[in-house]
């Protein structure tokens, strides 16, 4: 439940949509339209925030010792002399042509930067969600089946502690203990310094690239670096996923058909997994998708603590140095992911959940 790692937000609205009955094309168009509106709104809000920020982008570029003529030249070059709305429209036009502009602070195309930092976040979030699902779902099911038992209590405590822990603090302690004192894991960063750029970058995911290249030393090293931050993120999504699984399961287990099945003498295993669990799959996927979206949004604090060059720390750094092209580009990508995962889970509902029809 930490701010970035919050898994609760954006619960999909379950209100039945009459649009379901319309032709599929119309639905698709509408969806695309709403994505576009949301994205433009997102950009606009970010744009405005960037402009009212008391950081002068020109100063951010030229530094404190520049002469006035240097300053003026950059001011004009950035187009800051034009009205705000004109600047925004220019920006939108470029975005439509998939041009996110150049980062003001490192002179590279923003798209290139994002292509570099996003895989780092993707790798971390994916591993994190795998931890969360692999451990969280069975724990939730078990807690529901053995409601009130010690297992249920343990699951509850595990989840509550997860909700209550400041991740940046836990990260620091984890680094101190597992890296500093015990030396069990790799330190901050994605990979040890001698392993940087060793394997050709195909996907940008170091673990995958190393495996493709068959270079298991790199793989081992990268894994030793990712394991701690991924476990931390995994723990936070585990907390959420196990709680949600438990409550979904309880709902099913109290349903009439389960009682019937039990009366019929069906084994407990079959009752739990073949019937109850089968029925919560769609709900569960929604929860997991949202949890994943939140991890993908960039777990800013985790990335900062672990010097992880991901999109969260990229946006944050850019923001604090008034590099608005970078902030806008990053926000679009992150916003788009969130929206797409939301739509994906909505769709799942409509297609598979009989109650939504």
């Amino acid at each position: 439940m930490a701010l970035v790692e919050d898994n609760n937000k954006g619960r999909p609205s379950r209100a039945p949509f009459s649009e379901w009955f319309w032709p599929a094309v119309s639905t698709a168009l509408k969806t695309l339209g709403s994505i576009a509106v949301t994205l433009v709104g997102l950009l606009f809000v970010t744009f405005i925030i960037g402009r009212v920020m008391p950081i002068d982008p020109v100063l951010a570029i030229v530094g404190e010792r520049a002469s006035q003529s240097t300053y003026d030249a950059v001011y004009d070059q950035l187009g800051l002399d034009k009205p705000l709305i004109v600047q925004f429209l220019y920006y939108l036009w470029d975005v439509l042509h998939l041009d996110f502009g150049t980062s003001l602070l490192n002179a590279r195309p923003v798209s290139e930067d994002i292509a570099r930092v996003f895989p780092a976040t993707l790798e971390l979030a994916t591993l994190g969600i795998i931890f969360g699902v692999v451990l969280g779902v069975p724990l939730g099911v078990l807690a529901a089946v053995r409601k009130g038992s010690w297992i249920d209590q343990v699951a509850r405590v595990v989840a509550l502690v997860g909700y209550s822990m400041p991740i940046f603090w836990l990260g620091l302690m984890g680094l101190l203990i597992f890296y500093g004192i015990l030396g069990w894991v790799g330190g901050p960063g994605r990979v040890g310094i001698f392993y940087v750029d060793v394997v050709p970058s195909v996907t940008g995911l170091i673990l995958v690239d190393a495996a493709l290249d068959g270079n298991w030393d790199v793989f081992k090293n990268a894994f030793s670096h990712i394991i701690l931050p991924a476990s931390l993120l995994g723990y936070f999504s585990l907390a959420y996923i196990s709680r949600m699984t438990r409550s979904f399961m309880l709902e099913q287990l109290s349903a009439e058909y389960i009682t019937t099945a039990r009366v019929k003498g069906m084994s407990e295993w079959n009752v739990v997994w073949k019937h109850a669990f089968k029925n919560i799959r769609v709900q569960l996927i929604t929860v997991i998708a949202l949890s994943y979206a939140n991890l993908l949004e960039g777990s800013v604090l985790t990335e900062i603590i672990f010097s992880w060059p991901g999109i969260g720390s990229y946006i944050t750094t850019a923001l604090l140095s008034a590099d608005m092209n970078a902030v806008l580009g990053g926000t679009v990508v992150v916003g788009l992911i969130f929206i797409l995962l939301n739509i994906f889970s909505d769709l799942l509902y409509k297609v598979f959940d009989p109650r939504a029809k």
Binding site: L59, A60, A66, Q68, A73, A107, N215, N221
Partner: protein
Amino acid sequence: MNAFNRLLTGAAIGLAVSVTSFAAFAETPANMLVIAHRIDDVTTIDPAESFEFAGSDISRNVYSRLVNLDPMDLGAGYQPDLATSWDVSEDGKTITFTMREGVTFHSGNPVRAEDAAFSLQRAVILNKTPAFILAQFGFTPENAMETIRAEGNQLIITTDQRYATSFVLNCLTATIGGIVDKETVMANEVDGDMGNTWLKTNSAGSGPYKLDGWQPNESVTLSSNPDYYGGAPAMERVIVRHVIESASQRLLLERGDVDIARNLNPEDVAGASSADGVVISDELKGRLMYLALNQQHPELSKPEVRQAFKYLIDYEGMQNSFLNGQYTIHQNFLPATYLGASEDNPFTYDVEKARELLAAAGVENLEIEIGVREAQERIEIAQSFQNSAAQVGITVNITVGTAKQILERYRARELDVYLGAWGPDYPDPQTNAGTFAYNPDNSDEANATGLLAWRNSWDTGGLTEKVAAAVTEGDRDTRVQMYLDIQEEFRETSPFVVMFQQIEQSALRDNVTNWSTGQAVTSAAYWQVTK
């Protein structure tokens, strides 16, 4: 890049063979120097534009200059680099450099006088941030082609008036004096930018190292230039890895993952120095930590109040606690080791004295805002000052912001008090005298945001003229005395409370020798380092 990959793979495999677990002590390869450093300030590596610390480190190793400072003997001042000799004309306005023969750029192109002329012209015409270093000699984008020109093997520059030759040459040792490969740069020109866009992320120099890659906020990799005219450097690869946290840098160093950690805080220096195989190297840097009082403030502009603040700093207490080993008390605007720098530090922490001065000025219930950027030691200095000020009834509100936020308000003359740092731009006393004690037009309209005196609305009380006189004085001893006099007056009358001078503490593996971060006068050099 491929050769580099292979080499690294080789290193990695070698390492994997010798290392059985993650925790085991690793050692960097003998021909490779690995440095943990904060490099997030690098925004460009074009020598005509680069102006930040980490960027200057790259430039110093990639670009040779006309004259340069020897990392093994920085006290000797500027030495021949790409220029082997120079002559000054009778009127002192024209300097003729003779270029070194047989030197080539990394591209293989020969280094010619034409390249040198192009590099300086380019810096003046592009008019990026550091251009003022050259512009102060009267070079403008309009006259650059006439005042800077090549003739055969000679480069001839003509200044607008007589300046101390040492002043001109000192300025040419700065990053902006880097000589670029004209042919390569112009081949990459886009829209008449003189190759600026390309050079921001690529290099075209003739220095001891060439740039393999710069990943923003991740790493800088350099490989040695085997054809360097001064001999190929011992370290064939240099990797500078961006590591923010001091604790992380220390762990990497103690584990042998890096050879040098450059941003350890005092506690980690103390901790690391007791670790096996780690030594600490101290170098006095040029950066000063100071408080500035805005003279538009009705109370802060009273002479007694300015004086009182100089007694409200717990100089000793801070130097011996959280600044331990990294800052030393220094109360003059010229950093120690600079020509003419004063060593007098007359002010001590004296609350009683401050109270008397404030009473004499009739100041009561003063409440002021101090702007600080979010760097831990600065926030702590601010809090220590807040604590002292509270004892004489002054309420200090601390505003912390990013460097850029605070700077902007400072430049707009909005802050009551600014707590900041200032580092010299080139190794000549004018670099600081010309900003702390020089302010020809104190009006708001002048908008001389580059001058610290102007930012604090201080008319300098006559120091401006003295500074202007000192910079044209040809006699070295006379010049030194002039700066000593200026500093003495400045100490007593100025609204600046200069407090500390920085000491850079690098923690090194004990097999690293000849490490130099450039002391107060320049940046880090790698080519003389051996292991």
